[in-house]
């Protein structure tokens, strides 16, 4: 594969060589790189929010439903808050819930999936049954039921509820991969040479499904961000917290569609879509890197 880094000067070539292999293949993959850059942009916005926003997100600064102007680039909400400031602060709220939830989901999925696949027997039967049941009975409706019974569910309760109900898909995928790795020769060799079970799992099996774990993790983050936005949109979040989902909730509640205040719902929607797109692109990239036949060129 031709690499762009090699065309540069001697220094950048040496830098290129010092990168680990996976980093090089990601930089070489257009889709993955685009996704990472978009995501990095939003992370930067979230980190620098206090510097980027001219005012606190909840402060009333202007007239209600002012269209975008020089003073307020994204206009104002019905309450006269600066939409731009809300967007900038909202990035942190949405990304934080998405990434923490996605990470918790994948930790549960790895633990259950690998245990089921590696231990096998009755343990596997039981864990697989539970995972399959969660796949068909859980999802957004169950999350809504749980969230509706919590008084004022904030971001942290959303993290807990989403994590406990959404690990099944990842567990299923990782279980089947573990099953096929378990019978491979290098695992057999490790077992014969007397490696303890935990070491076989951590040193032999896990590193061989890194790409699968990473893509399941990214899928889980995407799911969490969309689910959070959906929950908050229907009013099952803390309406006083500032996230992209609650901006959409207030836009809908303030009849933004009817009054034509498009600037209150287009920016948060597009931001969620852009983060979603970046995660999808990264996953497509990982797919293409691990299975080069899929790439369209």
């Amino acid at each position: 594969m031709a690499n762009k880094g090699a065309k540069g000067s001697g220094l950048s070539f040496r830098l290129w060589l010092s990168l680990p292999g996976w980093a090089r293949s990601i930089i070489n993959n257009k889709k993955a790189l685009t996704g990472i850059l978009i995501l990095a942009f939003f992370f930067l916005v979230a980190l620098l929010a206090p510097l980027l926003a001219p005012t606190a997100p909840q402060r009333m600064v202007g007239r209600p439903h002012d269209p975008p102007s020089e003073q307020y680039a994204f206009g104002t909400t019905r309450q006269g808050q600066d939409v731009y400031a809300q967007m900038v602060y909202g990035a942190g709220g949405s990304l934080r819930v998405g990434f923490i939830t996605g990470t918790v989901i994948i930790v549960i999925a790895v633990a259950i999936g690998i245990t089921a696949g590696f231990v096998g027997g009755a343990t596997d039967e039981a864990l697989s049954l539970i995972a399959n049941i969660f796949l068909v009975v859980a999802g957004l409706p169950l999350i809504i039921v749980v969230a509706s019974m919590i008084e004022r569910p904030g971001p942290d309760t959303i993290i807990i509820v989403l994590s406990l109900t959404s690990w099944a898909w990842g567990a299923r995928v990782l279980r089947s991969q573990t099953l096929s790795l378990r019978n491979s020769e290098f695992v057999e060799a490790a077992r014969v040479s007397g490696e303890p079970t935990w070491r076989i799992i951590v040193v032999e099996i896990l590193p061989n499904m890194t790409s699968l774990v990473v893509s399941a993790w990214i899928g889980a983050v995407l799911y969490a961000i969309l689910a959070q936005a959906g929950l908050e949109f229907i009013g099952l979040g803390d309406p006083n917290s500032v996230t992209w989902g609650t901006i959409l909730y207030w836009a809908q509640n303030n009849q933004a569609l009817l009054t034509g205040a498009w600037w209150t719902f287009v920016p948060p929607g597009l931001a969620i879509a852009a983060v979603g797109l970046s995660l999808t692109l990264i996953n497509y990239g990982i797919d293409e890197i691990t299975n080069p036949r899929l790439s369209s060129s």
Partner: protein, 356 residues
């Protein structure tokens, strides 16, 4: 002359198995499949799990579950009726197992108690009115997006690097990353409020009498359905397309495809009968699993369109904290998802002889 025309058609059924023979074959396969029997058992267990979750969740919440679930009933009811409703949900002074059995009996007889917001209308009646709209919308949307996406995926894989692969697939994938309800918001805003081409709420024109035999009413139903359908298909197609394309690429490198080409079979026949028929199997499994996601997306879409299905009713129930209705809707959605899964399993048996 007439005899000459009549003869070949009379012979036809003996040459190839007729439609009815095939149908009987398929039905026989469905009834005798061990795979389907196992799946059916699994769905029973899953339904049981959903019902049990519904029983456990309020009891796991901090605070008094009776207070949580029925606070809004108090004052609306005389104390004796209130006690009866509590008993229906298993809230009696007895051991947990007794509470559970009481609750099970109500659920199995589809008796979810009265709805709080529509009191004293029973929950089952409120759900019955909205279920049909969601099922129609979800059924058409999931089948259409699956068929369109899968077919485009076949074409994208067949002509690698062609226009469908290089232009349509990326566009569909971009929309796939959009949250359903945001696309719905945009659609309502642009086509409903700004351009005024499509209605912005309801499932039919409320000025027309609801009569399923009148064409005027049916047309109004179709007209109200176009925009919600469009938003779901727009966001759901990309995933199917990419999935099918990647399955096809795997299948196309198999030996039997090379063999079919070597035999000189027509391209179309290889593409559809040899490659696509095998590549679609993983997609079918995914289709069954995705029905839940489609329903979830649909719930939010309905809310944006004020479409009187389960999602919109769900929102009203949440805002009123109408727990009997919330739980009833949850159980009905789960039942619909399980049923859809079972239907997908049956079509799997028909398409893949190995599952028979």
């Amino acid at each position: 002359m007439t005899a000459a025309i009549g003869k070949p058609s009379a012979d036809k059924p003996t040459d190839t198995p007729g439609f009815f023979a095939k149908l009987l074959d398929g039905l026989y396969a469905i009834f005798t499949s061990r795979f389907l029997r196992r799946r059916f058992l699994f769905y029973l267990i899953a339904a049981f799990a959903a019902i049990t979750l519904n029983f456990i969740i309020p009891r796991l919440m901090p605070g008094d579950p009776v207070q949580l679930l029925f606070a809004r009933f108090q004052g609306k009811l005389d104390p004796r009726a209130f006690e009866a409703i509590k008993a229906q949900f298993g809230f009696v002074d007895g051991p947990l197992i007794e509470q559970y059995l009481l609750y099970l009996r109500s659920i199995i007889t589809l008796d979810f108690g009265p709805s709080i917001m529509g009191f004293p209308v029973p929950v089952s009646q409120v759900i019955g009115g909205s279920l049909r709209w969601t099922l129609i919308l979800a059924g058409i949307a999931s089948v259409l997006s699956f068929l369109i996406g899968t077919f485009l995926g076949v074409l994208a894989a067949w002509r690698r690097g062609g226009r469908i692969d290089n232009v349509l697939l990326p566009i569909a994938s971009v929309f796939g990353a959009f949250p359903y309800f945001f696309v719905a918001l945009l659609a309502v805003y642009i086509f409903g409020f700004q351009l005024d081409i499509f209605p912005t709420s309801h499932a039919y024109d409320t000025a027309i009498r609801q009569d399923w035999r009148s064409t005027e009413f049916l047309w109004s139903v179709v007209y109200h359905m176009i925009l919600p359908l469009f938003t779901i298909i727009l966001t759901a197609t990309g995933g199917w397309m990419l999935g099918m394309r990647n399955n096809m690429i795997g299948v196309l490198s198999q030996d039997y495809i090379v063999m079919a080409e070597a035999k000189g079979l027509a391209d179309r026949r290889i593409m559809l009968m040899y490659a696509a028929r095998n590549a679609i199997l993983p997609s079918l499994t995914a289709f069954a699993m995705s029905f839940g996601f489609i329903i979830a997306g649909l719930l939010l879409t309905e809310i944006v369109f004020s479409y009187p299905g389960m999602g919109y009713t769900f929102l009203l129930a949440i805002n009123a904290r109408d727990y009997p209705l919330i739980q009833g809707i949850y159980l009905m959605i789960t039942a619909a998802v399980l049923l859809a899964n079972f239907i997908a399993d049956m079509s799997y048996v028909l398409l893949d002889p190995r599952a028979r």
